[in-house]
Symmetry: D2
Subunit: 359 residues, 4 copies
């Protein structure tokens, strides 16, 4: 039983490896009547694409999205939507080196153990290129949520290495995020992050960081106890992204130190609406949205591919030395922002449609 | 589409609320031929039950487990297993107070918004009593994993409030964990935790903490990219437990500060086995187990029920003052240890059986 | 991956074997706010129960239904509903004979091959006693459909052996069906059926037949192409019932002989509603309900348990002679009517809630 | 919740409508290590393609299959396989006529009711062109079953209109089936069928028929009680094919007339193997394969598109006259044979891998 589908109502099934014919996704369960164009999807893909700035990998991948089914006259028909981006031709010979070696902290070894063989070209299915399909399908989800429910999803880079902004998420706009190449809405911190990444890149190394995501205007009532709690599905969605090592919602790990009397969010009436005075919960109570802002943090480790000499094993279990020659991202964070956006959108639309099913 | 099932091969579906007739679970997909007794399941339930020590709620709940199907002559038959614990009779009148008010940080408000009505007796389905079904089914999973694959799952309390042990998880045994009532294997820290919880309890307050879980001897190859990665499913499992606000695997949030050259875990040969020198990954690469110890941390917030006066709203949106009269846990951590164990077991057995399906 | 769940939104998971502790079902996804009592469920169970007439098995099984969760103050809460009927104590020794032999056309042999062991008491999980859980959960579905949408489900016995009624289904009422013990609304044919079954019973044999089911007032739009077509799910539901060997919708097998110009159902306007002149389709076009009556036929083979001497093999592959001693149904048809009703209700409510999920 | 996926372990998700960009399928869960080429898949597609003989539609559709992911060096990698056939360009204007009218017995009306809008070009998603994706994915399943388990699947046309062969299925080979354009292994009956279809075609009409399918060498133990019984899933698979109105396994509808003492299949020992003397069961007992031949019959109604004048309604509910101008199949049976093959293969591989999951 493989695991390439996500969602139950707005269900995506993705396919494609780094160097096959294409990366794609079928969306099954997208409501009919949503107007969507390739251009709108392309906008999100361009936020994710390689080569967009000096701090991302210089690889030039086109990533042109094609809608091949499920949309008629610019509108979704309710039937499955196939989105596809063809891969550039690549010579398999370029990967002869990787064929025989287990790169440290890559999935080479585990894919071989799991499947008995592996597509060694550019990490195969374990390549982050796979996230393209998430962003493409997430773009449709995002549009639907925005248009139908006014839901806004804003992710940004909060931390790179030890450099961290303490900006209040409530004031961050999507324009602030897109104002710089690191996608940190705090411009002075952003510059420090960029400089640091540049430095890390020069040394052939890589670095991790944290992305914060805010989802505004989610109606109360979304989330399915006791297992498919809204934050549990958000957590799974985020942890399924390459390089993610942690997820926390609301007060998160720091919140464990707070006494109940401090952590509890008292209800109150604001403009005749039930609200909470504080929001340590992060917008979710008992696994169900309460109408407050949903916010969470996602930890990304440093990229495994580095331009430094590393020792490892080859297929014959011999110790070898390895230096990656390929161009890589010194820090995935700026390109990961639209991926976090997309996965958040996919979880929220799925739970919105699930909630709908109750008569 | 409700969300009361977990797992795809070893699939559990739970039912029961705080004050209905029973809390139960059907396990569908348990392999045949496993010997299991009510006593073995009861052992795990007793680790979770209320009233087991001075730092847990003094409520006396019996939680006697019954096997009602799927087991014949002491052995599983491959057909669905029904496990049930009957609830004690409770007078609904005892809950008249809670009927009209939204307790802060409880799920009263969101359940009402989601379902249009709610069972207000003892939190209804949102009660932590629901986790009883998880522990009962997890007990069977744990036994299977231990007997068939030698897999060991050890969870313990690492942190309560700001009190934290830095004990090396590699040396912790299940006996160390069970040596004290807080289930922290570091005895001096354990005493500090207990004293602190006692103090919190006296003041009518509550406190959170962190549980660490280690899973040893997991064979390499478990986990289903790209969405059902092993740690993504572990994360979802943990985040679905009441009061959990965060999950991190391996290096987690702290790891984002490490350079790739430091974070990468080089492969090496030990006793003719492929191992990694370090284990920042936490035993999982590309979503698939690599044979190293899997370890992760789970953040629990303080319990919402406190014996302090709180302001909130009632059903008429009027501001009211509330003081919980019921007996509650000042800190859920010690009772949450077997729940974390159980959910970890449920994830691992599910992925083991999923991996099996490949011919 | 076991198969004891049915439905995706109104999802039932059943458990229990002939001689375990209980037969039960968890319904996950039942909408909140439906009033339901044990009495209402019991009514349907009583239509299915053994010993209800001279042409059913004289075994006296109580089959008292208990609601153990998910209902509060007589109303569903949206949380999982556990329905349970406890089994009567049975001495395992009574089944020593069956322990060592494969009864012809029973599932003894295949269960052993599949699971490596088997619960030989009264057919274990393969017992038709399992259908009790279907009828119990179907009773809630039926009530919902009737109350919310005015949907009526009427099944009746159309054929026993070669005795067949050609009554027009449009005129059949539930009272006609319940007017006699064979549940055939054509009273003169009913008497012939009863006499024939009586005769078959005297000879220690068994006989099959056909049940016709009509579902009225289904709104147009239900059914999920291309695999979960409404009639495909109805077909699966029926074929999953013990002893069922065939399913046909609308014109069915006889319809293959009709030319397209005859088989096509022209649209026309009746009382300002879009209707079809004929209904060879059986109320479903392209897998989606069109608002006409849905009708289908279900073929039940004769019961495998007979009071005649049969040759077969035992566990040691030795040829042995076998004569069933237990009391059995000479014809399952009258007791299968409420099962067909229930499964039809479960399919329709599931598709209604699935259709709802589209925003 | 849409329904474009089939299978749980070998799970296919299909997409594409008659006149979109492409028809495709993602297979998730295909075991790794299976050698497969586009040529092998194309062979099955060519059996299904239009224009292959004088009794199929003269439409020339290319249906060239492309493998776009999941296969590396000619071998499956265990990752999702994307198969795609691009559609020929078609001018939407050609369908202006169909835009405004509900064709009798087509899905025009129900799609509009379900989705609120519809892709009216060539039946959109309801087009039988969708089955291309089934045949393509089924080709991989068929190869796997044949190579790994020696399973053979042979479908053939048993009946067209009232013309029927009573050939014994046991003697039919795939060569016999492919020996003529109607795919009936009884050559004299085949000729009668062909002549009759020719006649029907000349009159602008259409006709239905029955396909019989045999699955040989299925190991005992496949099938998942109590809902996912092997024949229940076969039934659903067949009923999900366009134009199918009935399914019967083993003795089927005719079998209901047999007494239990006749219908029961006694076990006996043949060549030291447990076999049954007769096979009224059709190779499945209690929903689980018993090692005997599985055989079933599938009823296809006549094609809805005919070249005769029909009365129907348009979008404004006005009565109109309609004569289909497009080229159509006078009888789908010969082209449906590979579709039945494919769906049978998909069910069997799915259940084989499900059974595998039990440790």
């Amino acid at each position: 039983m493989s695991g390439n589908s996500f969602g139950q109502t707005f269900k995506i099934t993705t396919c494609g490896e780094s160097h096959g014919g294409a990366v794609g996704v079928i969306i099954d369960g997208c409501p009919s009547g949503i107007s969507i164009t390739e251009t709108e999807i392309q906008y999100e893909l361009d936020r994710r694409k390689p080569g967009q700035s000096k701090i991302t990998t210089p690889r030039a991948e086109s990533d042109i999205i094609h809608i091949l089914s499920g949309v008629f006259d610019g509108v979704t028909t309710g039937t499955p939507i196939l989105l596809l981006a063809y891969n550039k031709d690549a010579r398999s010979e370029d990967y002869d080196e990787l064929k025989k070696v287990f790169r440290p902290s890559h999935a080479d070894y585990t894919y071989l153990k799991k499947y008995g063989l592996r597509d060694y070209r550019g990490s195969g299915r374990a390549s982050a290129r796979e996230t393209l399909a998430r962003v493409a399908s997430g773009a449709i989800a995002k549009k639907y949520l925005k248009k139908k429910l006014g839901i806004e999803i804003i992710s940004y880079v909060e931390q790179v290495g030890k450099i961290k902004t303490d900006i209040d998420y409530k004031n961050v706009t999507i324009n602030d995020v897109e104002a710089n190449i690191i996608r940190c809405p705090d411009s002075s911190i952003a510059n420090k992050m960029i400089d640091f990444i540049d430095e890390v890149k020069q040394s052939g190394d890589s670095i991790g960081g944290v992305i914060k995501c805010i989802i505004k205007n989610v109606p109360s009532g979304l989330g399915e106890p006791v297992f498919d709690k809204l934050h549990a599905d958000l957590g799974k969605a985020m942890l399924s992204i390459n390089a993610v090592k942690g997820f926390e919602i609301g007060s998160g790990f720091a919140g464990v130190e707070l006494l109940g009397s401090v952590h509890n969010d008292p209800f109150m009436l604001v403009d005749n609406k039930v609200r909470t005075k504080t929001n340590h919960a992060g917008g979710i109570l008992g696994g169900i949205s309460n109408g407050e802002d949903i916010y969470f943090r996602v930890a990304f480790k440093s990229v495994s591919t580095i331009n430094k000499l590393q020792s490892t094993l080859n297929l014959n279990n011999e110790e070898v030395e390895l230096r990656a020659e390929g161009r890589h991202d010194p820090c995935v964070l700026p390109r990961a922002v639209p991926i976090v956006d997309a996965m958040a959108a996919l979880v929220v639309i799925d739970h919105y449609l699930r909630q709908n099913s109750y008569a």
